[in-house]
Symmetry: C2
Subunit: 149 residues, 2 copies
DNA sequence: TCATGAGCTGATAATGATTCTCATTTGCAG
DNA sequence: CTGCAAATGAGAATCATTATCAGCTCATGA
Protein backbone atom coordinates (compact mmCIF):
# COMPACT_ATOMS: atom_id res chain seq x y z
CA UNK A 1 0.00 0.00 0.00
CA UNK A 2 2.66 2.42 1.08
CA UNK A 3 4.76 1.31 -1.82
CA UNK A 4 1.97 1.99 -4.22
CA UNK A 5 1.34 5.41 -2.74
CA UNK A 6 5.00 6.26 -2.85
CA UNK A 7 5.22 5.13 -6.43
CA UNK A 8 2.33 7.38 -7.33
CA UNK A 9 3.91 10.26 -5.51
CA UNK A 10 7.15 9.82 -7.36
CA UNK A 11 5.38 9.45 -10.65
CA UNK A 12 3.34 12.53 -10.04
CA UNK A 13 6.26 14.55 -8.85
CA UNK A 14 8.14 13.65 -12.00
CA UNK A 15 5.21 14.48 -14.10
CA UNK A 16 4.90 17.87 -12.46
CA UNK A 17 8.62 18.58 -12.83
CA UNK A 18 8.43 17.64 -16.46
CA UNK A 19 5.46 19.85 -17.07
CA UNK A 20 7.18 22.75 -15.32
CA UNK A 21 10.34 22.27 -17.36
CA UNK A 22 8.37 22.29 -20.53
CA UNK A 23 6.98 25.69 -19.55
CA UNK A 24 10.33 27.01 -18.35
CA UNK A 25 9.20 26.88 -14.74
CA UNK A 26 10.84 25.31 -11.72
CA UNK A 27 10.07 22.72 -9.12
CA UNK A 28 10.12 24.36 -5.71
CA UNK A 29 9.69 23.23 -2.08
CA UNK A 30 6.31 24.94 -1.90
CA UNK A 31 5.06 23.18 -4.99
CA UNK A 32 6.33 19.92 -3.56
CA UNK A 33 4.45 20.38 -0.29
CA UNK A 34 1.27 21.35 -2.08
CA UNK A 35 1.52 18.33 -4.36
CA UNK A 36 2.07 15.98 -1.41
CA UNK A 37 -0.86 17.31 0.60
CA UNK A 38 -3.03 17.16 -2.48
CA UNK A 39 -2.16 13.55 -3.19
CA UNK A 40 -2.92 12.54 0.40
CA UNK A 41 -6.51 13.33 -0.09
CA UNK A 42 -9.25 10.99 -1.11
CA UNK A 43 -11.87 12.74 -3.18
CA UNK A 44 -12.09 16.38 -4.08
CA UNK A 45 -10.81 19.52 -2.50
CA UNK A 46 -11.27 23.21 -3.12
CA UNK A 47 -8.19 25.39 -3.37
CA UNK A 48 -9.20 26.89 -0.06
CA UNK A 49 -9.41 23.51 1.65
CA UNK A 50 -6.09 22.48 0.22
CA UNK A 51 -4.63 25.72 1.48
CA UNK A 52 -5.66 24.81 5.04
CA UNK A 53 -4.08 21.38 4.73
CA UNK A 54 -0.91 22.88 3.34
CA UNK A 55 -0.72 25.35 6.22
CA UNK A 56 -0.44 22.43 8.61
CA UNK A 57 2.69 21.30 6.82
CA UNK A 58 4.10 24.75 6.23
CA UNK A 59 2.29 27.78 7.61
CA UNK A 60 4.43 30.10 5.52
CA UNK A 61 2.86 29.07 2.24
CA UNK A 62 0.41 31.65 0.97
CA UNK A 63 -2.93 30.95 -0.55
CA UNK A 64 -2.04 32.62 -3.84
CA UNK A 65 0.65 30.00 -4.24
CA UNK A 66 -1.83 27.23 -3.60
CA UNK A 67 -4.20 28.65 -6.20
CA UNK A 68 -1.36 28.95 -8.67
CA UNK A 69 -0.05 25.48 -8.00
CA UNK A 70 -3.34 23.70 -8.18
CA UNK A 71 -3.79 25.13 -11.65
CA UNK A 72 -0.42 23.77 -12.64
CA UNK A 73 -1.43 20.38 -11.29
CA UNK A 74 -4.50 20.48 -13.47
CA UNK A 75 -2.45 21.48 -16.50
CA UNK A 76 -0.02 18.67 -15.82
CA UNK A 77 -2.87 16.19 -15.73
CA UNK A 78 -2.26 15.38 -12.07
CA UNK A 79 -5.44 17.02 -10.88
CA UNK A 80 -8.87 16.84 -12.39
CA UNK A 81 -11.12 19.85 -12.13
CA UNK A 82 -14.56 19.14 -10.74
CA UNK A 83 -17.35 21.69 -10.86
CA UNK A 84 -20.52 21.31 -8.82
CA UNK A 85 -21.83 24.66 -9.96
CA UNK A 86 -21.68 26.29 -6.54
CA UNK A 87 -19.04 28.81 -7.50
CA UNK A 88 -16.15 26.88 -6.02
CA UNK A 89 -13.60 25.04 -8.14
CA UNK A 90 -12.66 21.66 -6.78
CA UNK A 91 -9.83 19.35 -7.73
CA UNK A 92 -9.17 15.71 -7.23
CA UNK A 93 -6.10 13.57 -7.78
CA UNK A 94 -6.16 11.69 -11.04
CA UNK A 95 -4.66 8.29 -10.34
CA UNK A 96 -3.80 6.27 -13.39
CA UNK A 97 -6.36 6.80 -16.07
CA UNK A 98 -9.33 6.25 -13.82
CA UNK A 99 -12.09 8.70 -14.38
CA UNK A 100 -15.46 9.19 -12.80
CA UNK A 101 -18.43 11.49 -12.59
CA UNK A 102 -20.48 12.64 -9.64
CA UNK A 103 -23.88 12.19 -8.14
CA UNK A 104 -24.73 14.90 -5.62
CA UNK A 105 -27.55 14.94 -3.06
CA UNK A 106 -29.40 18.23 -3.24
CA UNK A 107 -30.31 18.05 0.44
CA UNK A 108 -27.26 16.83 2.33
CA UNK A 109 -24.66 17.47 -0.37
CA UNK A 110 -23.37 13.93 -0.03
CA UNK A 111 -21.47 12.85 -3.11
CA UNK A 112 -21.09 9.55 -4.82
CA UNK A 113 -18.65 8.83 -7.59
CA UNK A 114 -19.42 6.59 -10.49
CA UNK A 115 -18.05 5.51 -13.82
CA UNK A 116 -20.14 4.59 -16.80
CA UNK A 117 -18.17 3.63 -19.87
CA UNK A 118 -21.38 3.44 -21.85
CA UNK A 119 -22.07 7.10 -21.20
CA UNK A 120 -18.48 7.98 -22.06
CA UNK A 121 -18.88 6.19 -25.33
CA UNK A 122 -22.05 8.05 -26.17
CA UNK A 123 -20.41 11.33 -25.34
CA UNK A 124 -17.65 10.52 -27.80
CA UNK A 125 -20.29 9.70 -30.33
CA UNK A 126 -22.14 12.98 -29.85
CA UNK A 127 -18.92 14.91 -30.26
CA UNK A 128 -18.13 13.04 -33.44
CA UNK A 129 -21.59 13.64 -34.84
CA UNK A 130 -21.01 17.38 -34.55
CA UNK A 131 -17.47 17.18 -35.88
CA UNK A 132 -15.93 18.00 -32.53
CA UNK A 133 -12.74 16.55 -31.20
CA UNK A 134 -13.65 15.66 -27.63
CA UNK A 135 -11.18 16.78 -24.98
CA UNK A 136 -13.04 16.50 -21.71
CA UNK A 137 -16.44 16.64 -20.18
CA UNK A 138 -18.21 17.63 -17.04
CA UNK A 139 -21.16 15.67 -15.78
CA UNK A 140 -22.87 15.98 -12.45
CA UNK A 141 -26.17 14.36 -11.59
CA UNK A 142 -28.31 15.97 -8.92
CA UNK A 143 -30.88 14.13 -6.88
CA UNK A 144 -31.97 13.06 -3.43
CA UNK A 145 -29.92 10.37 -1.74
CA UNK A 146 -31.48 7.34 -0.05
CA UNK A 147 -31.00 8.78 3.46
CA UNK A 148 -32.74 12.04 2.63
CA UNK A 149 -35.72 10.69 0.76
CA UNK B 1 -45.88 30.48 -35.35
CA UNK B 2 -46.98 33.65 -33.66
CA UNK B 3 -49.86 31.78 -32.16
CA UNK B 4 -47.57 29.19 -30.78
CA UNK B 5 -45.26 31.81 -29.33
CA UNK B 6 -48.12 33.65 -27.80
CA UNK B 7 -49.50 30.46 -26.36
CA UNK B 8 -46.17 29.76 -24.75
CA UNK B 9 -45.95 33.24 -23.33
CA UNK B 10 -49.33 32.94 -21.77
CA UNK B 11 -48.55 29.52 -20.45
CA UNK B 12 -45.30 30.70 -18.98
CA UNK B 13 -46.79 33.80 -17.47
CA UNK B 14 -49.45 31.70 -15.82
CA UNK B 15 -46.91 29.29 -14.59
CA UNK B 16 -44.89 32.08 -13.07
CA UNK B 17 -47.92 33.65 -11.42
CA UNK B 18 -48.88 30.31 -10.00
CA UNK B 19 -45.41 29.72 -8.64
CA UNK B 20 -45.35 33.17 -7.08
CA UNK B 21 -48.76 32.65 -5.47
CA UNK B 22 -47.61 29.42 -3.98
CA UNK B 23 -44.77 31.29 -2.32
CA UNK B 24 -46.93 34.23 -1.25
CA UNK B 25 -45.29 36.49 -3.82
CA UNK B 26 -46.81 38.69 -6.45
CA UNK B 27 -46.76 39.14 -10.18
CA UNK B 28 -45.42 42.61 -10.98
CA UNK B 29 -44.80 44.67 -14.12
CA UNK B 30 -41.06 44.28 -13.72
CA UNK B 31 -41.30 40.53 -13.49
CA UNK B 32 -43.52 40.57 -16.56
CA UNK B 33 -41.03 42.55 -18.61
CA UNK B 34 -38.15 40.34 -17.53
CA UNK B 35 -40.10 37.22 -18.39
CA UNK B 36 -41.01 38.57 -21.85
CA UNK B 37 -37.48 39.60 -22.73
CA UNK B 38 -36.23 36.27 -21.49
CA UNK B 39 -38.65 34.29 -23.62
CA UNK B 40 -37.71 36.28 -26.73
CA UNK B 41 -34.30 34.81 -26.66
CA UNK B 42 -33.07 31.79 -28.49
CA UNK B 43 -30.39 29.99 -26.53
CA UNK B 44 -28.83 30.96 -23.25
CA UNK B 45 -28.33 34.25 -21.50
CA UNK B 46 -26.46 35.37 -18.44
CA UNK B 47 -28.32 37.48 -15.90
CA UNK B 48 -26.15 40.39 -16.98
CA UNK B 49 -27.06 39.98 -20.64
CA UNK B 50 -30.71 39.70 -19.78
CA UNK B 51 -30.37 42.85 -17.72
CA UNK B 52 -29.18 44.75 -20.79
CA UNK B 53 -32.08 43.48 -22.85
CA UNK B 54 -34.51 44.41 -20.13
CA UNK B 55 -33.07 47.91 -19.94
CA UNK B 56 -34.09 48.46 -23.54
CA UNK B 57 -37.69 47.81 -22.59
CA UNK B 58 -37.58 49.59 -19.26
CA UNK B 59 -34.41 51.40 -18.18
CA UNK B 60 -35.73 51.78 -14.66
CA UNK B 61 -35.44 48.11 -13.83
CA UNK B 62 -32.43 47.38 -11.68
CA UNK B 63 -30.06 44.51 -12.10
CA UNK B 64 -30.77 43.14 -8.65
CA UNK B 65 -34.35 42.65 -9.78
CA UNK B 66 -33.21 40.79 -12.85
CA UNK B 67 -31.03 38.51 -10.76
CA UNK B 68 -33.90 37.90 -8.37
CA UNK B 69 -36.40 37.25 -11.12
CA UNK B 70 -34.28 34.92 -13.15
CA UNK B 71 -33.96 32.74 -10.06
CA UNK B 72 -37.70 32.70 -9.71
CA UNK B 73 -38.00 31.67 -13.35
CA UNK B 74 -35.66 28.78 -12.68
CA UNK B 75 -37.66 27.76 -9.60
CA UNK B 76 -40.85 27.90 -11.60
CA UNK B 77 -39.37 25.61 -14.21
CA UNK B 78 -39.54 28.29 -16.89
CA UNK B 79 -35.80 28.70 -17.10
CA UNK B 80 -33.16 26.06 -17.14
CA UNK B 81 -29.84 26.82 -15.53
CA UNK B 82 -26.83 26.15 -17.72
CA UNK B 83 -23.32 26.13 -16.34
CA UNK B 84 -20.25 26.22 -18.56
CA UNK B 85 -17.92 26.40 -15.60
CA UNK B 86 -16.66 29.89 -16.38
CA UNK B 87 -18.14 31.48 -13.29
CA UNK B 88 -21.19 32.89 -15.02
CA UNK B 89 -24.65 31.42 -14.56
CA UNK B 90 -26.66 31.20 -17.74
CA UNK B 91 -30.31 30.51 -18.26
CA UNK B 92 -32.34 29.38 -21.18
CA UNK B 93 -36.08 29.16 -21.76
CA UNK B 94 -37.49 25.72 -21.24
CA UNK B 95 -40.11 25.21 -23.92
CA UNK B 96 -42.24 22.16 -23.50
CA UNK B 97 -40.27 19.26 -22.18
CA UNK B 98 -37.42 19.66 -24.62
CA UNK B 99 -34.07 19.30 -23.01
CA UNK B 100 -30.55 19.38 -24.32
CA UNK B 101 -26.93 19.42 -23.31
CA UNK B 102 -24.01 21.38 -24.66
CA UNK B 103 -20.87 20.88 -26.63
CA UNK B 104 -18.45 23.78 -26.26
CA UNK B 105 -15.40 24.56 -28.37
CA UNK B 106 -12.41 25.24 -26.17
CA UNK B 107 -10.89 27.59 -28.70
CA UNK B 108 -13.68 29.74 -30.10
CA UNK B 109 -16.30 29.06 -27.41
CA UNK B 110 -18.84 28.15 -30.06
CA UNK B 111 -21.65 26.08 -28.61
CA UNK B 112 -23.73 23.32 -30.06
CA UNK B 113 -26.78 21.86 -28.41
CA UNK B 114 -27.66 18.24 -28.57
CA UNK B 115 -30.04 15.73 -27.08
CA UNK B 116 -29.25 12.13 -26.44
CA UNK B 117 -32.05 10.14 -24.87
CA UNK B 118 -29.73 7.19 -24.51
CA UNK B 119 -27.44 9.16 -22.25
CA UNK B 120 -30.42 10.44 -20.29
CA UNK B 121 -31.53 6.89 -19.75
CA UNK B 122 -28.13 5.82 -18.53
CA UNK B 123 -28.02 8.73 -16.14
CA UNK B 124 -31.32 7.62 -14.67
CA UNK B 125 -29.90 4.18 -14.35
CA UNK B 126 -26.78 5.35 -12.54
CA UNK B 127 -28.89 7.34 -10.10
CA UNK B 128 -31.07 4.31 -9.45
CA UNK B 129 -28.06 2.09 -8.89
CA UNK B 130 -26.95 4.37 -6.07
CA UNK B 131 -30.43 4.74 -4.64
CA UNK B 132 -30.71 8.36 -5.72
CA UNK B 133 -33.84 10.01 -6.94
CA UNK B 134 -32.65 11.93 -9.98
CA UNK B 135 -33.75 15.55 -10.19
CA UNK B 136 -31.52 17.13 -12.77
CA UNK B 137 -28.12 16.96 -14.33
CA UNK B 138 -25.47 19.09 -15.85
CA UNK B 139 -23.45 17.85 -18.76
CA UNK B 140 -21.09 19.85 -20.91
CA UNK B 141 -18.68 18.32 -23.38
CA UNK B 142 -15.53 20.25 -24.23
CA UNK B 143 -13.61 19.84 -27.43
CA UNK B 144 -12.36 21.51 -30.56
CA UNK B 145 -14.92 22.34 -33.21
CA UNK B 146 -14.46 21.52 -36.90
CA UNK B 147 -13.52 25.11 -37.79
CA UNK B 148 -10.82 25.33 -35.16
CA UNK B 149 -9.15 22.00 -35.73
C1' DT C 1 33.55 35.61 -6.68
C1' DC C 2 29.93 38.31 -7.78
C1' DA C 3 26.47 40.36 -10.67
C1' DT C 4 22.49 39.16 -13.39
C1' DG C 5 18.13 37.82 -14.39
C1' DA C 6 14.34 34.63 -14.75
C1' DG C 7 11.30 32.69 -12.00
C1' DC C 8 9.03 32.23 -7.30
C1' DT C 9 6.75 33.78 -3.22
C1' DG C 10 3.52 35.98 0.19
C1' DA C 11 0.81 39.88 1.26
C1' DT C 12 -2.45 42.54 -0.27
C1' DA C 13 -5.23 44.96 -3.61
C1' DA C 14 -8.31 44.26 -7.38
C1' DT C 15 -11.88 41.96 -9.91
C1' DG C 16 -16.29 40.36 -11.20
C1' DA C 17 -20.46 37.85 -10.53
C1' DT C 18 -23.80 37.58 -7.34
C1' DT C 19 -26.31 38.68 -3.05
C1' DC C 20 -27.61 41.62 0.67
C1' DT C 21 -29.31 45.90 2.84
C1' DC C 22 -32.24 49.44 3.29
C1' DA C 23 -35.04 53.37 2.40
C1' DT C 24 -38.80 53.97 -0.51
C1' DT C 25 -42.77 52.57 -3.25
C1' DT C 26 -46.69 49.74 -4.59
C1' DG C 27 -50.95 47.56 -4.30
C1' DC C 28 -54.28 44.70 -2.31
C1' DA C 29 -57.25 43.56 2.22
C1' DG C 30 -59.82 45.31 5.65
C1' DC D 1 -58.88 55.52 2.94
C1' DT D 2 -55.14 52.95 5.76
C1' DG D 3 -51.91 49.66 6.84
C1' DC D 4 -48.98 46.02 5.85
C1' DA D 5 -46.59 42.63 3.27
C1' DA D 6 -44.02 42.35 -0.54
C1' DA D 7 -41.19 44.58 -4.29
C1' DT D 8 -37.94 47.65 -6.01
C1' DG D 9 -33.46 50.18 -7.21
C1' DA D 10 -29.12 51.81 -5.74
C1' DG D 11 -25.31 50.83 -3.86
C1' DA D 12 -22.68 48.24 -0.37
C1' DA D 13 -21.06 43.73 0.80
C1' DT D 14 -19.40 39.06 -0.18
C1' DC D 15 -16.64 35.52 -1.78
C1' DA D 16 -13.71 32.93 -4.82
C1' DT D 17 -10.25 33.88 -7.67
C1' DT D 18 -6.58 36.68 -10.01
C1' DA D 19 -3.34 40.46 -10.53
C1' DT D 20 0.26 43.32 -8.67
C1' DC D 21 4.43 44.17 -6.58
C1' DA D 22 8.52 44.19 -3.75
C1' DG D 23 11.70 41.07 -2.05
C1' DC D 24 13.92 36.36 -2.42
C1' DT D 25 16.36 32.26 -4.68
C1' DC D 26 19.45 30.23 -7.31
C1' DA D 27 21.78 28.74 -11.53
C1' DT D 28 24.71 30.88 -14.97
C1' DG D 29 28.42 33.22 -16.96
C1' DA D 30 31.91 36.96 -16.96
Amino acid sequence: MILICRRYVITHRNRLTEHLNKKGLKMTPQRGVILDRFLDVEGHLSAEELYHLVRQSDPAIGQATVYRTVKLLAEAGIAKTVDFGDGVARYEPRFGTSHHDHLVCKKCRRQVEFVDPEIEGLQEKQARIHGFNLISHRMVLFGICPDCS
